[in-house]
């Protein structure tokens, strides 16, 4: 395909139309969902007979961990699509979601630590669940590092995509770590055969926070995707008509546009 790589991203109309329709709804749902979730998590739910009030940390920790894993599947899946089919949106989708997933991973790690100190007596243990989840965080950091490591952004995307796909094996390892190894981290109590074993009064805040975090993830990922696509479109304009960015008498083209960079 002639021209620089950003041409591929320059006009994905269907996605942008879809995103523009969805984002306000995702935003509204996020606000309502977190309001309801925080109310349930911090007020309208009981303390646990064993954990006491620290059970409330679970309403941050568990949703964060779930979204961290979901986001990695998104990044890995999009990366695979980019590598296999070269779909122009796939790279954008992977790059957009990655830092959001990293943020959720960090949140899960720290909130888990804060729970572990009073409950286990330790901020950290090198058991299989915690270790594989820390690896997830390193994979996100590596993904970001590779994206930014090359002068040619397309090489960066290719390398990052390879890392993301290879790292996908970590997701089932995280999930089944509590079954395959003797871990201090407790086994699954929600996503398991036979259904959840948590009391409904605690399942409610958990599910509300998890669903809201999911919606939030989509909202911010779409925002970042749209920003990246618009940036690519701008790059295409500058590439094709550099004079338009520098000459003054062009409609409302303002004097402080990116003329200097063209």
């Amino acid at each position: 395909m002639p021209g620089p790589a950003f041409h591929r991203f320059a006009n994905p109309r269907r996605f942008l139309r879809l995103a523009d329709v969805l984002m306000p709804w995702l935003g509204g749902l996020t606000v309502l969902g977190f309001a309801a979730g925080l109310y349930l998590a911090l007020w309208d739910s009981p303390a646990d007979y064993q954990q006491g009030e620290t059970v409330r940390i679970m309403y941050v920790h568990v949703p964060a961990a779930w979204i961290a894993m979901f986001a990695y599947c998104w990044v890995g899946g999009a990366s695979a699509a980019a590598l296999i089919w070269r779909h122009p949106l796939a790279d954008v989708a992977a790059e957009a979601a990655s830092p959001i997933g990293a943020a959720f991973t960090l949140l899960a790690l720290v909130s888990g630590s804060l729970w572990g100190r009073p409950m286990w007596g330790a901020y950290w243990v090198w058991d299989a669940r915690l270790t594989s989840f820390l690896l997830l965080f390193f994979l996100y950091l590596g993904h970001w590092a590779l994206l930014n490591a090359f002068d040619d952004p397309q090489r960066g995307r290719r390398a990052a995509a390879l890392l993301a796909v290879v790292g996908l094996i970590n997701v089932p390892i995280i999930k089944f770590s509590v079954d395959w190894w003797n871990t201090l981290h407790q086994p699954a109590s929600v996503m398991k055969m036979g259904g959840p074993s948590i009391d409904p009064s605690m399942l409610r805040p958990l599910i509300v926070m998890a669903l809201t975090a999911q919606v939030y993830f989509l909202l911010v990922t779409f925002m970042r995707m749209k920003a990246m696509l618009l940036e690519a479109r701008r790059q295409t304009q500058l590439y094709r008509q550099p004079r338009a960015a520098t000459s003054a008498p062009r409609g409302a083209a303002s004097a402080n546009s990116q003329g200097g960079r063209a």
Binding site: H7, G52, I57, M223, A227, A244, G251
Partner: protein, 58 residues
């Protein structure tokens, strides 16, 4: 239950509130950064599209 009793969270305040505080900081921060980037990208296009009638990629 008094406000002080509520905030002490059974003695676990030092662990619970920082968890929620970090959540708020990370989630709002991520959203704000994304929002700013999107606004900047839209502004950059607006400044040029008025003088650029035909969409080059259509």
């Amino acid at each position: 239950m008094s406000l002080a009793q509520y905030f002490s969270m059974g003695g676990y305040a030092a662990f619970i509130w920082p968890s929620y505080a970090l959540a708020v900081v990370l989630l709002i921060g991520t959203f704000v950064l994304a929002s700013r980037r999107l606004a900047a990208a839209e502004r950059a296009l607006e400044g040029s599209e008025a003088g650029d009638e035909a969409d080059p990629a259509s």
